[in-house]
């Protein structure tokens, strides 16, 4: 039970706990987020935002405080713990990990205040915890989430949801029966770049999306240092099929979630091929994957991930007939240049039945970047965040209010099941249609 991995986005934690005015920074950050995200189109999907921004910079009252338990204090877990330290009304009262070095790191991040556990069921038995966060290896997610919901806790669980589609379905059903919040760690749902991208898509700015290309390329062996050989499978669980579905569940599910979100749909079918073609080091999961997902309307997501070349990095290219969005890079590109200002003015005057001259003529207009279209920013505010911090803010706010973000669990469910069906398609070397029994009712 340890998750030593870095944040799935590959970003390391850069928070400085010694910032001179942490609350002002947090308030500014939240307000900047709200200024960009709080538009008509987006605000409906961010019900927690109003509460979070209203309380930003205020001391949390005792009645507002949320008691949390944290299971899995590996690298990702510790990253989330650091982020939680910035949320004023979050108290991490208990932590759990069955790998002592990680448990010690987690304890240090709570200032030594949290009670430690090595068995998560003991942590769940506490009655004073409002919610638990789970950042353990994939194979442990299912049972831990089921148990936590049964114990009456709100739950945050890192992505992906589980190893099997049926388990994901059971987790959704368990959430419904419990009435508790189940949030899965898809931080792009809280990343301002992606929220802005979705707003542009819903507004028709890039026209009809007819294709998505997504890729995640790295050049490393995806291994973590192992103190002794008997810990190999425990530490490097991502490389073994008993514990992980490899690139599909650890990376691709993030990007398939973006494609599903952008298209407002889940795939009808998937085909693909994967192999181990470079890292012949005893791993059991593919070191490269290539898939084609087909969505309603004949739209495709073309996906690939590899671990032996990093030139192209990661991106989701959302391609519409009027433009392209690359949210990871915070860019969008229009197929056509903007109309001449004089033309816009002329249209306006005709609509107002005015016959007048418009200023238009002059030496020839040339594009700013004629040789290379560098596109435009999705948003101009510099928000140094991949969404994980807002994800933590949101979870705590939702636990406090007892209200989940509508549609988020469905997003996570379809992202994980899409990844798992892709994994199955590669293993079985066939086209897999989305099973009817896996469609949420």
């Amino acid at each position: 039970m340890t998750n030593n991995g870095k944040s799935a986005s590959g970003k390391s934690n850069d928070l400085n706990e010694n910032q001179p005015d942490n609350q002002v920074t947090r308030r500014d950050f939240l307000n900047a987020f709200a200024a960009v995200a709080g538009t008509t189109l987006l605000s409906a999907s961010l019900p927690w935002l109003t509460g979070v921004t209203a309380q930003a910079g205020q001391a949390a009252s005792p009645s507002n405080r949320v008691q949390l338990g944290f299971i899995g204090t590996g690298s990702r877990g510790c990253y989330l713990l650091e982020l939680l330290r910035r949320v004023p009304n979050a108290d991490v009262a208990a932590i759990c990990d069955n790998y002592p070095p990680n448990l010690q790191k987690g304890l240090e991040l709570t200032g030594g205040k949290a009670k430690t556990y090595t068995n998560y069921k003991d942590l769940l038995a506490r009655n004073d915890l409002d919610a638990v966060l789970i950042a353990t290896p994939l194979y442990e997610h299912f049972q831990m989430v089921i148990d936590a919901l049964a114990a009456g806790k709100h739950v945050f669980c890192e992505k992906s949801m589980a190893m099997l589609p049926e388990q994901c379905l059971q987790m959704v059903q368990a959430q419904k029966q419990s009435g508790k919040i189940l949030q899965i760690g898809h931080q792009r749902l809280f990343d301002i770049k992606f929220l802005r991208a979705m707003e542009m898509i819903r507004s028709g700015d890039i026209g009809k999306i007819t294709q998505v290309r997504a890729y995640w390329h790295r050049n490393n062996d995806w291994r973590r240092p192992v103190p002794s050989p008997d810990l190999e499978r425990k530490i490097n669980w991502r490389l073994y099929k008993e514990y992980s579905c490899g690139l599909m569940t650890e990376l691709a599910s993030h990007q398939i979630q973006v494609a599903n979100w952008a298209l407002g749909a889940f795939p009808e079918s998937v085909s693909g091929s994967g192999s181990i073609n470079y890292w012949h080091d005893g791993r059991e999961v593919y070191d490269n994957v290539n898939l084609v997902y087909r969505y309603p309307g004949g739209i495709h997501l073309i996906y690939d991930s590899l671990t032996s070349n990093k030139k192209y990095g990661l991106e989701e290219q959302l391609e519409g007939n009027k433009g392209t969005i690359e949210p990871e890079a915070n860019r969008f590109y229009l197929e056509n240049p903007p109309a001449a200002p004089g033309i816009v003015q002329l249209v306006n005057s005709i609509e107002h039945k005015i016959f007048d001259a418009v200023p238009i003529g002059g030496p020839s207009w040339v594009p700013e970047n004629p040789s290379e279209d560098k596109g435009h920013s999705l948003h101009d505010k510099v928000i140094n965040s991949d969404g994980s911090d807002m994800e933590m803010e949101a979870f705590v706010a939702m636990v406090r209010d007892g209200r989940a973000v509508p549609g988020h669990l469905e997003q996570a469910y379809y992202a994980t099941v899409s990844a798992l069906l892709g994994h199955q398609a590669m293993l079985e070397n066939r086209i897999i249609a989305w099973p009817k029994e896996l469609i949420l009712q």
Binding site: P337, G342, I343, L346, I350, A357, V358, G361, S364, V366
Partner: protein, 304 residues
């Protein structure tokens, strides 16, 4: 009044079409037709596309006569005719000088070098055989760059498309430097187009009434001017072999798209006497000179 517009990139600038009073389906059909025609023209006439017909001519015409199709012959014949009628001020062979000045500052020595280059180029070294429909260059340094005339020709093709489809009202802008008014504004007679103030694009320096006419403007790029980095412009004075500087422009209105385009290009670098002589060959043409002084005070006057 319902108005539909479409903008697309072409020839390193943008093409804007405004069609009042037609339905969306017809508009989409026309936009598609127009875009494809402009792209076809660009593909044929671009010197930046090595597969274009013009690139082929530039590579081969010194070695041997190159056979032209009717369209290319029509265009090149106009280039020669405009060169003659403009006392040599309209010249499509100045590209080597433009390239030279991109990497050289103006000095006595470089001007001397430029004049040597100038001797090896010029429209007089383009030989058109009207019987055989061929072109041949008399110098290996000659290359044809149609510049604004290529845009003008594409706009002429668009004008024909609109005529073929009985479009009675349209306003077209090719890079804002070439503007065509077809028919009437929905609430007026003809169309009105203003020349933008170089320092305030939201106000007009001068307004033209366009009655089935084209307005063409030649001058230094607005983007360059806005960056305040202007030292050497992109238009070469064919007589002096140096790039035009300063903040100035010439605007021409003519019933002919090609005349307007060629004339604005020719008049811009020409001196006053030459301008007057050129305009004698183009009656019913209105030409305006726009010039800013160092205090950004503008002087506008008709050339006649």
């Amino acid at each position: 009044m319902h108005v539909i517009t479409h903008t697309f990139p072409a020839m390193n600038t943008r093409f804007d079409i405004l069609l009042p009073g037609i339905d969306e389906d017809l508009g989409d059909y026309l936009f598609d037709l127009i875009r494809r025609e402009v792209e076809r023209t660009e593909h044929k006439l671009s010197i930046f596309n090595p597969d274009s017909e013009l690139s082929h001519i530039n590579r081969a015409a010194f070695q041997h006569p190159v056979t032209l199709d009717d369209e290319m012959y029509y265009i090149l014949n106009h280039c020669l005719e405009y060169n003659r009628q403009s006392m040599g001020m309209f010249d499509v062979t100045m590209r080597p000088l433009l390239e030279f000045w991109k990497s050289h500052e103006i000095s006595e020595e470089t001007v001397s070098t430029a004049r040597e280059i100038r001797k090896q180029i010029g429209t007089d070294k383009i030989e058109l055989n009207w019987k055989k429909k061929t072109v041949q260059f008399a110098s290996d340094k000659v290359m044809i760059d149609l510049g604004g005339l290529g845009k003008g020709y594409a706009l002429l093709r668009v004008k024909y498309i609109l005529k073929d489809h009985n479009i009675s009202s349209a306003f077209l802008s090719f890079g804002e430097s070439t503007i065509l008014g077809v028919g009437n504004h929905p609430y007026g007679n003809g169309w009105k187009a203003g020349i933008c103030d170089f320092f305030d694009f939201n106000s007009s320096l001068y307004t033209f009434d366009l009655h089935e006419q084209t307005l063409s403007v030649s001058g230094n790029s607005r983007n360059i001017l806005m960056r305040k980095e202007l030292v050497k412009g992109h238009i070469i004075d064919p007589m002096k072999a140096v790039p035009m500087g300063g903040m100035s422009a010439v605007a021409v209105v003519s019933a002919s798209v090609l005349d307007a385009e060629a004339l604005s290009t020719a008049l811009y670098p020409a001196d006053e006497e030459t301008r007057k002589k050129i305009l004698i060959n183009f009656p019913n043409t209105l030409a305006i000179n726009i010039e800013y002084d160092e205090q950004r005070k503008v002087c506008i006057r008709e050339i006649k």
